[in-house]
């Protein structure tokens, strides 16, 4: 057996080992990718459920019920209580603010509720 045959055989064996290792590496990575994709899908499914639950918690009917329960004495703002920014600048700011605040107090809050100790 001459040298070239020996070298060729050794090269062949080395290439074989490399290809075999490469193949197993690819199989391993493919499985890993599959696992990662599956976990991404699982997490995204979970996120979907949490998003849906959050949307349910933010349902306007529920929020209204909670507001009525916990924000006693307050009610939605009315258009007459509002003032435009333009008008606010044109007019005396302090005076306008006092008027707006007084209007807010008069219309939205029962005076009794502001008294301390009740």
């Amino acid at each position: 057996m001459n040298k070239s045959v020996v070298v060729s055989l050794l090269t062949l064996i080395a290439v074989g080992i490399c290809v075999s290792r490469l193949k197993y590496e690819v199989v391993f990575l493919r499985n890993r990718l599959k696992e990662i994709n599956q976990s991404i899908e699982k997490y995204s499914d979970d996120i979907k459920i949490y998003t849906a639950e959050w949307a349910c918690l933010n349902d306007p009917k529920r929020l209204k019920m909670l507001a009525e329960k916990h924000l006693k004495g307050m009610r939605p703002m009315e258009q007459r209580q509002r003032i435009s920014y333009k008008k606010l600048i044109e007019s005396d700011f302090e005076k306008s603010f006092k008027e707006a605040f007084k209007s807010f107090i008069d219309s939205t809050l029962d005076k009794d509720e502001l008294e301390p100790g009740r």
Partner: protein, 571 residues
């Protein structure tokens, strides 16, 4: 097997030994050769059979099962989310598990059926048996969207051939709040009605991507307000139903409610009547609301001015019908007064003045003869009289003889008050309006005059109960008798449809509202009246009061420049 092979080989070797001993005996040799050939053929056949069966079990049968599973799995898809204009979820698909059976793998069908039927939600044993009997099948659904607890119970049973597969369930977050518009899907996710039906394929394709979703122009907050106020009103006035639309003047529908409604999460318990969308499918005569169109035609065509006088002192006759006014002024009225006091007599005379041809041309321009376009399949077709006689011209002037949907009405009135620029309704957020749709229907001057007249209706006319402090609302009410059989019913048994249409702010309208009640009853609070000014106008006020602070931050109204008032004698 090995014993058989041993015997075969012994037989063959024995034969061979005999053959060597008596090779000279040709007859025997022939017989032996025949036996040998026969034995070889038998062996080859047996091994071929075994090999084929092995290949069939190991390769082909597996391939067949996979194919059938793949076919079913393709049906189970995740649909993309539907959201409102602020990104709030309206409809979504969540992952669940569904139970299926491979009937060919089920050993004892009776036992399996009896065991499975005990799980909540599973069909009755007979039905399960029926599903499991067909052994040729490899896939039958047993129960879709199984709760995790029940899934555990099924797995604990240990019945062979029963499996679970990932599935997606469509959830409608706000229940019946958006039932008529978002619509609903069947158990496979195929759209049944509403946007779910119109965009069924697109939603399924988009569902593969996590980020894609269908953004609508709707607003959850506004929808909830409209729904609540309308529901309260339907209950208060004991109406058969009600509907409302809140639309931006750029055509975007912000809220749209039709009552009664249904829960798309629980279709089985919903009534068919509740699935009827009154806003888009309900086609009926709209009554005095059409006077807005009548006045716009008169002013835009130049046939009459705001101060033109029409005699409304006596009722008029159209064929066998008598046209009279509800609480009429019994005097000559200006065009402005005819509109503000909602005079049928004067409106008929205004229409007579410009004539049927002009009326038809304008009505066509306003889109009264065509189906309105919206991105849902439930759209009603208007009922237009075949012969447009003089009588039709007069009755259409005050809202009879032409049946249209509320959406169609709101679209045309919005176009009139929107400086005369056509409004095209849409439910898709960010949809660009086509250039050919941006057409002028009437002049800005006419549009302004109509808005002023509608403001006068709110300040001094039939819609006084819709006025709120701090906002320049404009509007018009309309009360129409419902068609019952061939007529409108007898005096005591008449049913009404009351409508309010209005908007704000007056000088540059941004939002339009339509509210309608079907057959509202007179109550003590309304002093025995069931007209629009007594039921839908206060309903509109309730809605405006809640939505205006959310939508509008404009100047407070200044009615000093309401020029139309000089043509109106208030008393």
């Amino acid at each position: 097997m090995s014993l058989l092979l041993k015997k075969i080989f012994t037989f063959l070797f024995d034969g061979f030994a005999i053959w060597r001993k008596i090779k000279d005996h040709s007859t025997l040799m022939k017989r032996l050769r025949a036996r040998l050939v026969f034995s070889v053929v038998c062996c080859v056949s047996v091994f071929t059979g075994i090999s084929y069966r092995l290949a069939d079990i190991m390769v082909f049968s597996k391939f067949r099962t996979c194919k059938s599973l793949k076919f079913e799995q393709e049906k189970v898809v995740r649909k993309a989310d539907v959201v409102d204009r602020n990104g709030e979820l309206l409809a979504t698909s969540i992952a669940t598990m569904s139970c299926y059976a491979d009937p060919s793998a089920v050993i004892d069908v009776d036992d399996a059926a009896n065991k499975l039927a005990k799980i909540p939600g599973m069909p009755v044993p007979e039905k399960i048996k029926q599903k499991l009997t067909d052994k040729k099948k490899h896939f039958v659904w047993l129960l879709r969207h199984v709760a995790p607890k029940n899934q555990e119970h099924v797995m604990d049973l240990g019945v062979p051939g029963i499996h679970f597969q990932k599935d997606y369930k469509r959830i409608y977050i706000h229940g019946n709040l958006f039932s008529h518009i978002v619509g609903c899907s069947d158990i496979d996710g195929v759209g049944v009605c509403g946007l779910e039906k119109s965009f069924s394929d697109k939603l399924m394709k988009a569902g593969k991507s996590q980020r894609k979703r269908l953004a609508t122009t709707l607003d959850v907050r506004l929808q909830a307000i409209l729904h609540e106020c309308l529901k309260d009103s339907v209950e208060k006035f004991k109406a058969a139903g009600g509907n409302g639309i809140l639309m931006s003047t750029n055509g975007e529908i912000l809220a749209i409610v039709s009552l009664p409604d249904f829960d798309p999460n629980n279709l089985r318990n919903s009534e068919m009547a509740a699935m009827f969308n009154r806003n888009t499918l309900g086609v009926f005569e709209q009554g005095s609301i059409l006077k807005i169109l009548n006045v716009a035609i008169a002013l835009d065509s130049g046939s009459a001015g705001l101060g033109s006088v029409f005699d409304a002192s006596e009722p008029i006759r159209i064929g066998r019908f008598r046209v009279s006014d509800f609480r009429g002024k019994r005097r000559p009225l200006t065009l402005a007064e005819a509109f503000v006091f909602s005079s049928n007599i004067a409106s008929a005379k205004i229409a007579q003045n410009f004539g049927g041809a002009v009326q038809r041309a304008y009505m066509k321009k306003f889109g009264m003869f065509d189906m309105v376009h919206l991105e849902i399949p439930e759209i009603g077709k208007p009922i237009v009289p075949k012969n447009w006689s003089d009588a039709t011209t007069m009755t259409v002037a005050y809202g009879y003889g032409l049946a249209i949907s509320p959406l169609q009405l709101l679209t045309s009135v919005s176009s009139i008050v929107n400086d005369g620029i056509k409004v095209s309704p849409t439910l898709i957020y960010g949809k660009k309006q086509k250039l050919e749709d941006c057409v002028r229907l009437i002049s800005p001057k006419t549009s302004k005059a109509v808005r002023d007249l509608m403001r006068a209706v709110v300040c001094h006319g039939t819609a006084r109960k819709s006025a709120i402090e701090g906002a320049d609302i404009f509007g018009k009410t309309g009360t129409a008798y419902k068609v019952q059989g061939k007529g409108y019913g007898s005096e005591g048994g008449r049913k009404r449809i009351t409508t309010f249409i209005g908007g704000f702010p007056k000088n540059k309208p941004e939002y339009m509202l339509l509210i309608s009640l079907d057959d509202p009853k007179a109550i003590e609070e309304t002093h025995g009246f069931a007209t629009a000014g007594n039921n839908v106008a206060p309903t509109a006020k309730n809605i405006f009061q809640r939505i205006i602070p959310m939508l509008y931050n404009g100047e407070k109204p200044d009615d000093s420049n309401l020029h139309v008032l000089k043509y109106i004698r208030i008393n």
